[in-house]
Structures are given as C-alpha cells and as structure tokens.
C-alpha cells in the first residue's frame, strides 16, 4: 500500500492542521522535558504569557495557549457567538450525546428526529427515551431532499406538519449528515417555535462546525454538539458542547453538576476542565489526556487567522463537488447528491457496476487506498468524499479520475 496522495476523508477525521501539528510536537517535547512539573501545571492554568523569550522559542507551538477559558472563547468566536458563553469539552463524544439525550428528555415527552442522524447517536437517543418512558418520532427527509424540485420551504413545511401531527415537544436535528446532507437547522427551529413551544433543542453539528455553517450568534438551540477532529483539523478527538441559550444555560449546568457528582457522567476531560475553571482540582488530573486541548487550540488559532470565512470555504467546496461529480460520472460512478439548497462539501458516489456494489466497504476503501486516495466507503458500492477547501489542482483531479477508473 502506498502513502496517501489525495486525502478526501475529513468527514471521518481531518488531517492535522499546521498549527495543531506544532502544538502537538512541542507538547511532546514539553512532556519529555517537564513531565508533570509545576512549570507545566502553571502553564496549563495560565498559558504562556509569563514565559521568557527563550522559553517561548523553545516551545513555540504552545505560545498560543492562554488557558482553558481562552480556548473556549476562541471556539465561541469560531462559532460566531458571544465569547463569554460556555463550552463543554469531552474526550468521549458518546458521553456528550448521552448528556444531550438526558437534557432533551428532562422536559420533553416526544422528540422529533430525522433519518439523517448518525446511527450510533440515534441509538443513544432511543436508549434514553426507553429509560425515561418517552417517545422519539422519526421523519424521513433523505429521500425528499434528494428530489431536485424539493426546496427549503418544502422541508420546513414537512417538518412542521410532522412535528404538530405527532404532538412533539422536543427536537434533535443533524445540521449536516455524515453523508453530506445539510438541514437549515436554525430556520427549522424558528419555524417550529412559531407554531408550538419546542421545549428542548439539540443540534448535532459534528459535520457542520467549521464546514457548513455553525453560526450560533442567535443561540437558537439549547445544546450544539461538535468536535475538533474533523473540519477544525485538530486531529485528536475532542467533543465540544456549545450551550448558553438564556432559558437553558443554568439548567444545563445544574444537570451537568448532578451527573458528574453521581458518576453517571464520567468523562475525564469534562471533569478536568470543569474543575480547572472553578479552581477545584481533585487530584485526578494526571489521568487525563490533555493533548487534544493543545492541538485544538493550535487548529483554532489557525482557523481564526484564516482570511476566508466558513461560508466562503463552503462555497469553494461546493464548486469542488460539482467538478468531482463530473469526473465521477465519466468514470463509472453515479453522484448521490441532494437538491442544491442541501448540499455541502461532502459528496457520495455509487458505483454503476454490480460487481463493485457487492464488494465490502473495507475492500472498497482499501482499493482506493492502493490508488493513493483516502476516503470512506460503505456497503452497496458507496464512497464518501470530503472536498478540499481550495480549488482542485489539475494533478488532484487526474489522481481522482485515475482512482475512480481503476476501482470501477
């Protein structure tokens, strides 16, 4: 197998950004030189402001670190919202989803979900619904939004009708699905709130954050789930939970404290960051993997310094989708794209040939890896490509064409 020449798998895990890499390398060097010294602990709490010039050049990749609070402010800025509002940080995204489910079913008896959700998250939601004796109402939108005539107004209408007819009072929406289908989350929330109270709203923004929109300036939801290891390119997995809507901010914090104290929520990073912000460390810090917060800070700093905004990068990725679709069609692959309003920088292709469709997803992925292309494959001959943020280079297009031909 040859090394990857064309990486198109950001939707699974983004390549580490340059600043994240620098933070990673310098953190490793600090780990060798300082271990868990007081120097390190002070740096962790206060950042690098008090470092001499010599130390700063020794650990240059970590100079953007200003403490947990500053990292959270930067993440908030990236999400377009008030930097003073809180952010949760977790090692395990499943824990964050479990927390989100508890939050939803505290006040809701019936939560509406779409069929665009990531299956493991849906399982967690269903599990919590069963525990609490509540309901989940599914709405199939995937097929609808694949119809080229289907527009955003039609989607809003369909969601509203289902929400009202089923007597729903809560909402769990996937802003961008793992297969690249986008929902206008804020618009849907507002449309529903005009006709009935929506008691609790959780948005899965894992594929949305730093890719499609993630504009939380209006704090339209009670909890927005994201991660820094996909489109933010922090690489090391770390889950993020943005909250702070006026009606639910204290509720979220009280539920969090309750679950941490009872041990029902036991994420080490969440516990650590909560404690360090309240200056109440309990002596378990040595067991927490801290590398994700530093690489996240590096990636965030790089993203904030970028001149292009997320919407303009999305525009570029969508143009790349069209170009890749054209290449795919001439190479024996059928693009599976939603209607134009629902497109993102992720695209699905399906092989036209039955023999390819019968291959396992592992085989398919390996075949593309043998051609130097990294992507995600699914059973049924589907592959998922995450578009680059820059215009296709001729050699990249050639490589993609060649790989699609070879595998087909």
């Amino acid at each position: 197998m040859q090394p990857t020449q064309l990486y198109l798998d950001t939707a699974r895990l983004g390549q580490m950004s340059r600043r994240a890499q620098q933070a990673h390398l310098d953190f490793a060097r600090m780990a060798v030189e300082e271990g868990a010294s007081q120097f390190f602990e002070r740096f962790l709490r206060e950042g690098s402001d008090s470092w001499s010039g010599n130390v700063q050049s020794r650990f240059h990749g970590l100079t953007c670190w200003r403490g947990i609070s500053r990292l959270k402010e930067n993440l908030r800025t990236l999400a377009g919202s008030d930097p003073e509002l809180p952010v949760l940080m977790v090692n395990r995204l499943a824990d964050l989803m479990r927390f989100a489910s508890r939050l939803l079913f505290q006040q809701c008896s019936n939560v509406l979900v779409t069929d665009l959700g990531w299956p493991p998250y849906r399982e967690i939601l269903d599990g919590e619904a069963r525990r609490a004796g509540r309901s989940v109402t599914p709405l199939a939108v995937r097929e609808l939004i694949c119809d080229s005539q289907f527009g955003e107004d039609d989607l809003v209408d369909a969601v509203r009708r289902r929400f009202l007819a089923a007597g729903c009072d809560g909402l769990f929406l996937t802003a961008v699905s793992h297969q690249g289908f986008r929902l206008p989350a804020e618009r849907l929330v507002r449309a529903l709130e005009q006709v009935r109270e929506v008691r609790s709203i959780v948005i899965d923004g894992a594929q949305d954050f730093c890719h499609a929109s993630a504009d939380l300036s209006n704090e339209y939801c009670d909890l927005y789930l994201a991660g820094c290891h996909k489109w933010l390119q922090g690489f090391h997995p770390m889950g993020l939970g943005f909250y702070g809507r006026r009606r639910s901010r204290v509720m979220v914090e009280m539920l969090l404290v309750d679950l941490l104290e009872s041990g029902e929520l036991n994420d080490p990073l969440l516990r650590f960051t909560t404690q360090i912000e309240s200056a109440k460390l309990d002596g378990e810090t040595e067991t927490v993997n801290l590398i994700p917060i530093f690489t996240c800070q590096g990636a965030t700093a790089e993203a904030l310094e970028r001149s292009a905004s997320v919407p303009s990068l999305l525009g570029m990725r969508r143009r790349n989708v069209l170009q890749a679709a054209s290449v795919a069609e001439s190479s024996g692959w059928r693009p599976v794209l939603p209607a134009e309003p629902f497109r993102t920088g992720i695209m699905l292709l399906q092989s036209e040939r039955d023999v390819i469709r019968r291959r396992s997803h592992r085989d398919l992925r390996e075949s593309f890896a043998d051609e130097g292309v990294a992507l995600t494959a699914y059973d049924g001959g589907f592959v998922r490509l995450s578009m680059p943020a820059t215009e296709w280079q001729p050699q990249e297009i050639d490589q993609l064409r060649s790989a699609l031909h070879s595998v087909a």
Binding site: D82, F105, Q106, Q107, S109, R131, A132, G133, R134, E197, R199, R245, R246, R247, S248, R249, V250, M251, M254, L255, D258
Partner: protein
C-alpha cells in the same frame, strides 16, 4: 376398603309425627264412619280438610319469615365472606366488630351519644375510601402519600397546578422536602410539569417576570428540569373553577390541596377514581391554554451578566 360409618337417616314415613297423626286421624274417621250419619261424616271430613288448609297456609307464612331471616343472616355473613379473601381488611373488620360488640355493653347515654357521632364520622370516611377518596384534614401527613406516589415506578408523568397567592407558598420545611422529592423524580426520568397560577401582586401585568419574592422558587424548579408554565390569576377571572391547587399522578390519582391564608394545609384530598383523574386531565388542558412557558419568558430577558 373403608368402613366408614354412614349417618343414619330414618324415612319420614316411620316418624312419630306422621304415624301418630295418621293413626289418630284414621281412628277418628273410622269411628265417625261406623257411628255417624252421612252428613256428619261429610261435615267432619270438611272440618279436617279446612284444618289441613289452615295449617298449610300458616306454614307458608312462617316459611316466608324463616326465609327472610335466612336472607338476613346470609347477608350479614356476606361482608365477612368477601373480606375473608383480604386478610388485612378482614383483620380490621374483626377488630371493629369486636369493639362495636364491646361498646354495645356500655349503657352510659352520654358515651353512647358521642360514640354514635364519632361512628358517623368514621362511616363517612370509610365511605369515601370505598369511593377511592382519601381526605387529610389540618395535617401535613398527606405529603407521605404524595411522596410515595411520586416515587412509584408506574408514575412517569406528574402534572401539577400550584395556585400561589402568597410568597410563603410551599416555603415551609415539609414543602421543601416535597420539592426535593420533585427534583429526585425528575432525576429518575419522571416528566414533571407545573403550571403556576400567580396573583397579580406576585406577577404584575407590566412586569415580564414574577416578583423577586417568588421568582427564585420558580427559577429553581425550571433549572432543575421541571417544565414550568405561568398564568396570571386575572387571566382566569372567567374560569374560576380553574383556580385550584392540584396534582395528577400519571393516570393513577389526582390530589387537590386547600390552603389557609398562611399557606398551611386545610385539606388534601386524594382521589383514585378514574373519572376524577379524567376530570382533572381536562381541567389541566384548559389551564394550559392560558399558560406561558417560563423558558420562553426567560428567552425574552437580556442575558445574565
């Protein structure tokens, strides 16, 4: 082969009553037939038949009375018979019966008078219990039943209407304990929804939020995960039957609380009758039409600094 002794039953034809009466009657008729004229014989036969008829009718009358008495006895046995399958209640029945029997031996007229009054009150309470109603008067002990209900595994939804006329509402220690049980219920996954009816003093029309005297109590419930709706009392001026303090425990029971001016319980009535629960449910839905969710009210407020 067993050789059990079978009980001996002598046929009625060999009984003294039958043989004696038949022999005497036959001898009399034989003497009349030998020594009497035909009209005399007829008259005596007629007399015997009349006597027989009269005896039969008298027997029927007595049989009616016996039947009535048997019915009364059986009915008086019906109560203990149906209770026999319920050992706990049957024990109480026996204790009460024994006490009443002992009371009947007392002849003091004043004691008797008071006893009858108290028994009338007890009878009324037992009647209420039989209809599925438990009344607690002038006591906070209803909270034990209330808390048991909220902790019951088959109560997954608790809807409550709190009529708050005074800032001291549910601020005493027993109430705080009951509120903690509410929070624990939410923690266990019970959906707790409370509509709070506020007097205009506690939520003036020109204010977006209730007064500071009651706001922390409301906020705490909201922040603990209860769904809270607010209604101004004046909005219900045309629907006075909606001004009520009640709780609906799943679809099991409904409780109605009456308070005095100092927010102490005057009476708490728990009703498990399905019709009462249905009535409470429709009342709840009517009140909900007037309610604004506290969450939506908070969303209109500026962010807290």
């Amino acid at each position: 082969m067993s050789h059990e002794e079978r009980p001996y039953h002598r046929t009625a034809l060999l009984s003294f009553r039958f043989l004696g009466t038949a022999v005497i009657g036959s001898l009399v008729m034989a003497l009349v037939a030998v020594f009497g004229t035909a009209p005399t014989q007829l008259a005596i036969l007629g007399a015997f038949i009349s006597i027989l008829g009269g005896l039969f009718l008298s027997y029927l009358g007595q049989e009616d009375q016996r039947e009535q008495k048997r019915a009364e006895v059986i009915q008086s046995l019906a109560v203990p018979l149906s209770l026999a399958s319920d050992p706990e209640l049957f024990q109480q029945y026996q204790v009460i019966s024994a006490a009443l029997t002992a009371l009947a031996q007392r002849t003091d007229p004043i004691l008797r008078q008071i006893a009858l009054l108290k028994l009338a009150s007890v009878t009324e309470q037992i009647d209420g219990l039989a209809e599925g109603r438990i009344v607690f008067a002038l006591t906070e002990s209803w909270r034990t039943v209330y808390e048991d209900l909220l902790c019951s595994p088959d109560v997954r939804r608790y809807r409550s209407v709190a009529w708050v006329q005074h800032p001291e509402y549910w601020q005493d220690e027993p109430s705080k304990q009951s509120m903690r049980v509410n929070f624990e219920a939410v923690r266990r996954g019970v959906l707790v929804e409370r509509i709070i009816l506020l007097s205009d003093e506690l939520w003036p029309a020109e204010e977006s939020l209730p007064s500071p005297e009651i706001l922390p109590w409301i906020e705490e419930q909201h922040n603990r995960g209860l769904w809270i709706g607010l209604v101004r009392e004046s909005d219900l001026s045309r629907e006075p039957d909606l001004l009520i303090d009640m709780g609906i425990y799943g679809d099991r029971a409904v409780g109605v609380q009456e308070l005095d001016d100092c927010c102490r319980t005057l009476r708490f009535t728990l009703d498990v009758d399905p019709q009462a629960v249905q009535l409470a449910d429709s009342r709840w839905k009517r009140i909900q039409l007037f309610a604004r969710s506290f969450g939506s009210i908070l969303d209109q407020e500026p962010p807290r600094t």
